[in-house]
């Protein structure tokens, strides 16, 4: 008996030693150059050496691109190389922003962009509101004395880990004409429908599927916020015979505000950039009913016969301006949290 128990343990120890040895051998490689650098550089400069790889990646793949983004947005043509692109001034922005009636995308020069704008706005308002409502409700329920809380918490979190493509395909399979949802409706005497072919239903399902895929994450943050509220505050409220609703309004909600703010900002930032699930689920359709901002960028820049990098970049910058506002809020709350 002990021999069979020992074997996996010994194997584990062996793998551990192997990985440890590998780690040591690899991490020891830069020892000489780093020691030489340390001898040459004063203490202050050494810090720069450590942050350099990170800064380099940021510089090449984040800061340089934003500069190029600006250049792309003021040049036209389908050429990829910046030098080959003709300067068009504000042409791209003009084209995007030219509309007879901003509420009616069909009157716009770039109707796809405006479909994207209005759909995204509709999506963000509905999705963020519903998601925060359900996350808060779930967190409040999970914060009670619940048997098996860990299991329930994990269950709500599970879809968060799934790939958006997988999430979309799971739901596509459920929503298809001969799918289980239509079968269920028929079993109760109703009439099924082609969920993703009717514009309003398709929009509704993009909202619902994205909530399904993400609410567990926000539930966790809110639950952590609820658990950080000291219990004796509630005891004091109970002594004062405060009604539950009053306790919730006057105690829980204000004390939870910082977490709610974090959740709100993160949810906004992510909802504005919705793409993956929706693109696989509906492809933006039917028609343009579920085309969102990022899909406009992707489609204009990469998925059409003529790649209009200038328009895509201009659209990106307009999206960036919106995101900037939310992210500044996020940074403020993060820094406050960091002390």
């Amino acid at each position: 008996m002990s021999a069979t128990l020992d074997r996996p343990a010994r194997f584990g120890a062996f793998v551990g030693r192997l990985l440890g040895g590998l780690y040591g051998a690899i991490m020891n490689l830069p020892e000489r150059p780093m020691r030489a650098a340390q001898a040459r550089l004063r203490d202050g400069r050494l810090g720069w050496l450590f942050v350099m790889p990170n800064l380099l990646v940021f510089a090449i793949f984040t800061f340089l691109p934003i500069v190029i983004d600006f250049w792309y947005s003021v040049t036209g043509g389908a050429q990829l190389l910046p030098g080959d692109r003709p300067y068009v001034g504000t042409g791209n922005f003009d084209s995007l922003l030219t509309c007879k009636n901003y509420l009616d995308p069909t009157t716009c020069e770039r109707d796809l962009f405006w479909y994207g704008v209005w759909n995204t706005l509709r999506f963000v308002v509905l999705q963020v509101t519903l998601m925060i409502f359900f996350s808060l409700l779930t967190a409040l329920v999970l914060n009670r004395k619940i048997a098996g809380r860990g299991f329930f918490r994990a269950a709500f979190f599970y879809p968060v880990l799934l790939s958006p493509v997988v999430v979309a395909l799971i739901w596509k399979w459920i929503l298809q004409r001969n799918g289980i949802l239509n079968a269920g409706i028929q079993a109760f005497g109703g009439q099924g429908t082609d969920w993703l072919i009717h514009a309003n239903w398709a929009f509704f399902w993009t909202v619902l599927v994205s909530i399904w895929g993400h609410m567990g994450f926000y539930t966790l943050i809110l639950l952590a916020g609820l658990q950080a509220i000291p219990a004796d505050i509630y005891e004091a409220a109970a002594m004062d015979a405060a009604s539950p609703w009053r306790t919730f309004r006057r105690l829980t909600l204000p004390l939870l505000m910082p977490s709610l703010l974090v959740v709100f900002i993160l949810a906004m930032i992510r909802a504005v950039q919705i793409f993956d699930e929706v693109y696989v689920l509906t492809g933006g359709g039917p028609g343009t009913a579920t085309v969102y901002m990022v899909q406009f960028i992707y489609q204009t820049g990469f998925a059409q016969g003529v790649r209009q990098y200038g328009l895509a970049a201009a659209g990106s910058l307009l999206l960036a301006a919106v995101l900037l506002v939310f992210t500044l809020f996020q940074l403020r709350t993060m820094r406050r949290g960091a002390g």
């Binding site: 190029i68 799971i170 459920i174 960028i297 990469f302 996020q330």
Partner: protein, 348 residues
């Protein structure tokens, strides 16, 4: 009344209706969260014919077949509902219009003719594992799987290394420009990958990284949330430890990998789990940078096949299941660390 449910009640004996409501809500939630995935998994072992049945059956029912001597392939089994042979189970050799020719397993040489209306297919639960084995035989599934695994592992190792080095310097050194560097890194939060899609494609093309797994790996190796999380953790490590090591003439690099990194293991583990999730599920950037099918990752392969395979859902379903299994395993074994990590860091 509803308000009672919203209340966190602690330590009161007895059940009232709010407890019932809570459990009903949670059980419904569990069904809603796991149900769709289970339905996908069950559907993925149905045969193509089984998938077309409406309303769908819960389990993968399939017409039973039996191998009969002198017949090239197994024959479908039918139960006879009326006539001389009522109650017997016979194998159908062929069907001509409304007439079927059947044989019994006892005497395969004797052909029995009867109208098809007297026959009912003999069904049994049977999992078509061939949906899965065909993935390897008919599609380059192994290659996509390898690509995804390679990207996930290499990118995660690099992410941990690069971000922990930065976090080490930002938490343990005082150097000129430390604050600005930290702010610049946090500022990258303002530039999500979606808005630098076009220029990043140019940069990847210039560096020869398009249609290469490295083109997927490099751009997101440095992450502001990673730096932030690790720095917060390393700030809690006592500086005395580092001083003691310096007394022993350890180099700064050695202090970093021998002392600081092992002590930061909990934070590194959280970042590692996140990184694995990010990479395994990544979609938009790989789709932009990878256009040749030899370098497809699983999500990209899934997406590109869903157009072609609309009529062959059995393969699409099986491939989807294969994509979610690794993540599900990680979830089962590590969900406590994941949920704790998110709750403490508030990042994803």
């Amino acid at each position: 009344m509803i308000a009672r449910m919203l209340m966190a009640r602690r330590g009161r004996a007895g059940w009232d209706w709010t407890d019932w409501a809570s459990y009903v809500y949670l059980v419904l939630g569990v069904i809603l969260m796991f149900g769709p995935v289970l339905w996908l998994a069950v559907s993925s072992v149905k045969s193509q014919a089984g998938l077309d049945v409406f309303p769908p059956s819960l389990l993968p029912w399939e017409q039973a077949r039996v191998a009969v001597p002198n017949q090239p392939s197994p024959l479908p089994l039918f139960r006879v509902t009326s006539g001389d042979h009522a109650g017997e189970t016979l194998a159908q050799v062929r069907r001509i219009g409304l007439q079927a020719q059947l044989v019994s397993a006892i005497d395969p040489s004797q052909i029995i003719r009867m109208p098809t209306k007297d026959l009912q297919p003999e069904m049994r639960v049977h999992a078509s594992w061939s949906n899965y084995s065909d993935l390897l035989a008919k599609f380059n599934f192994g290659l996509y799987f390898f690509n995804s695994v390679f990207i996930t592992i290499v990118a995660t190792v690099l992410t941990l290394l690069v971000n922990s080095m930065a976090a080490f310097a930002l938490s343990k050194y005082r150097f000129k420009g430390r604050e600005p560097v930290f702010l610049v890194m946090l500022a990258t939060l303002m530039i999500p990958p979606t808005i630098v899609l076009v220029p990043n494609y140019l940069i990847a093309a210039t560096l020869g990284l398009t249609n290469s797994l490295w083109g997927v790996i490099f751009p997101a190796v440095a992450t502001p949330t990673g730096v932030f999380m690790l720095r917060q953790y390393m700030l809690t490590l006592p500086d005395d430890l580092l001083e003691a090591a310096r007394m022993d003439n350890a180099s700064e690099w050695r202090i970093y990998w021998r002392i600081v990194l092992p002590l930061s293991a909990p934070a590194l583990a959280v970042l590692a789990i996140f990184s694995v999730m990010w990479r395994w599920n990544d979609f938009l950037w790989p789709m932009v940078v990878l256009s040749r099918s030899e370098v497809f990752t699983l999500p990209i392969a899934l997406f590109s096949f869903q157009g072609d395979l609309q009529t062959q859902w059995q393969y699409l379903l099986a491939m989807t299941v294969c994509t979610l299994v690794p993540v599900t395993l990680i979830f089962i074994f590590l969900q406590r660390y994941i949920t704790q990590g998110i709750a403490s860091a508030g990042v994803k």
